[in-house]
Amino acid sequence: MTSTVSRFTVALTAVAGLPAVAGGLNLGVELPRLEVAEYHRPYVAVWLERADGTVAANLSVWYEVKKRDAEGAKWLKDMRQWWRRTGRELSVPIDGVTQPTKPAGKHALSFSEGSNPLPKLEPGQYKLQIEAAREVGGRELLSIPFEWPAKQATSLSAQGKTELGEIKLELKP
């Protein structure tokens, strides 16, 4: 196992030309299929918090980007925790972060350390935060704590009850 990792590390170093290997995160976000009379795709925000609650990175924000007169920004505040922690300081849209809302189903996101929007992370305890708010619907916040850097490939998950389904977080050392 150790020799495989070393060879992998050497290979990556040769390719990237970096003194150390950059890690990464793979995120699986499931939006549940809901049987409601009036369904609107939820607004979703994904961000990383440090142990002290400060924000290390905004990874992904799904909102109605294309609406006329930036009308879509009206509901960003309904992602209440995200709004207070970081959203209200930002100006959307943000390259590499904001995206249009997505339909029910499973969605995959991938982030590499040192590559927008995931900066180089200081070693320590972090929390992946994911918050969803749906028009004429509810709001749900899930947290996945993790330690960085990951010594080996790690799989973590959280299960939502209402507005979010299964959230899978893979840490790549």
């Binding site: 930036a70 009206k74 960003l76 505040k77 207070r84 209200r88 300081e89």
Partner: protein
């Protein structure tokens, strides 16, 4: 019992009835946190219970809306109805809008030569002229009251303080309140932190429960109170101070009142 809030209410109503029924004055915005420049509508009323319209509308003549850059904004569609006044506001600038109604005046009473109680109301100069030479039991009090609420678009900005009378100074910004997080407010009298100020917080929805559920606090030596809100919703905050730092020698007593409407999010 003299209460600064009652006096504030009486002044706000434009009537000289001291000792009248105690009523609460308040402005209540439809939203206090916005992520886009959008309309907000504000109700203003004098009532018995929070936040129900069951008495009189609050006059808007002294309403001043201050934008984050310090400029004044005119309320739109202002209307005074039977039970409430209402106006609209569209915060276009990022930051905090302060909506305030400030009333100051002098009130009092005296007994004339026939022993009849006469009321006094007006500015300090006007009152001085109203008191006859043979008046007895002259009681004159000065009053400053401030009724406030706050609306923030985007990132909250620091509040502009008047430095006069009683006012709330954020340690925690009034548009940054959530249940489960302790908030700290400082109270200033004439620009300086004031100890022993009595502060009361009343949650919305009194009609649908038995108890008022008020939270009673007193500012400490640093003029601060700390509060953890038990439920989300609108809260009415009332603070009162009595002192003798009047601006006119004929008034021996000063009553300061501060009222604010705070929105606490879940």
């Amino acid at each position: 019992m003299f209460s600064a809030t009652r006096i504030a209410a009486a002044l706000a109503l434009g009537c000289a009835a001291i000792g009248a029924q105690a009523h609460s004055v308040w402005m209540k915005p439809s939203s206090t946190v916005l992520s886009k420049a959008d309309w907000v509508t504000v109700d203003a009323a004098v009532s018995n219970d929070m936040f129900f319209f069951n008495h009189r509308p609050l006059g808007l003549d002294k309403l001043v809306i201050t934008a984050p850059d310090g400029s004044t904004v005119e309320p739109k569609n202002a209307h005074k109805g039977e039970l409430r006044s209402v106006f609209d506001l569209k915060p276009e600038q990022a930051g905090t809008y302060q909506l305030a109604i400030v009333n100051s005046g002098v009130m009092g009473s005296y007994k004339d030569s026939a022993g009849q109680m006469k009321r006094l109301r007006g500015s300090a100069d006007e009152i001085a002229k109203q008191i006859p030479a043979d008046a007895k039991e002259v009681r004159v009090a000065e009053s400053i009251s401030r009724i406030e609420t706050f609306v923030t678009m985007g990132k909250p900005s620091p509040l502009r303080l008047s430095g006069k009378g009683l006012e709330l100074v954020p340690v925690t910004h009034p548009n940054d309140l959530v249940t489960g997080e302790e908030a700290t407010f400082t109270f200033h009298v004439d620009g300086k932190p004031a100890a022993d100020v009595e502060v009361v917080l009343v949650p919305d929805g009194k009609r649908y429960r038995d108890a008022v559920n008020e939270i009673k606090l007193k500012t400490d030596a640093q003029g601060q109170v700390k509060v953890k809100f038990p439920t989300a919703g609108m809260y009415w905050l009332d603070a009162d101070v009595k002192d003798d730092k009047t601006s006119t020698p004929i008034a021996k007593e000063r009553r300061l009142a501060y009222v604010a409407t705070l929105e606490v999010l879940p």
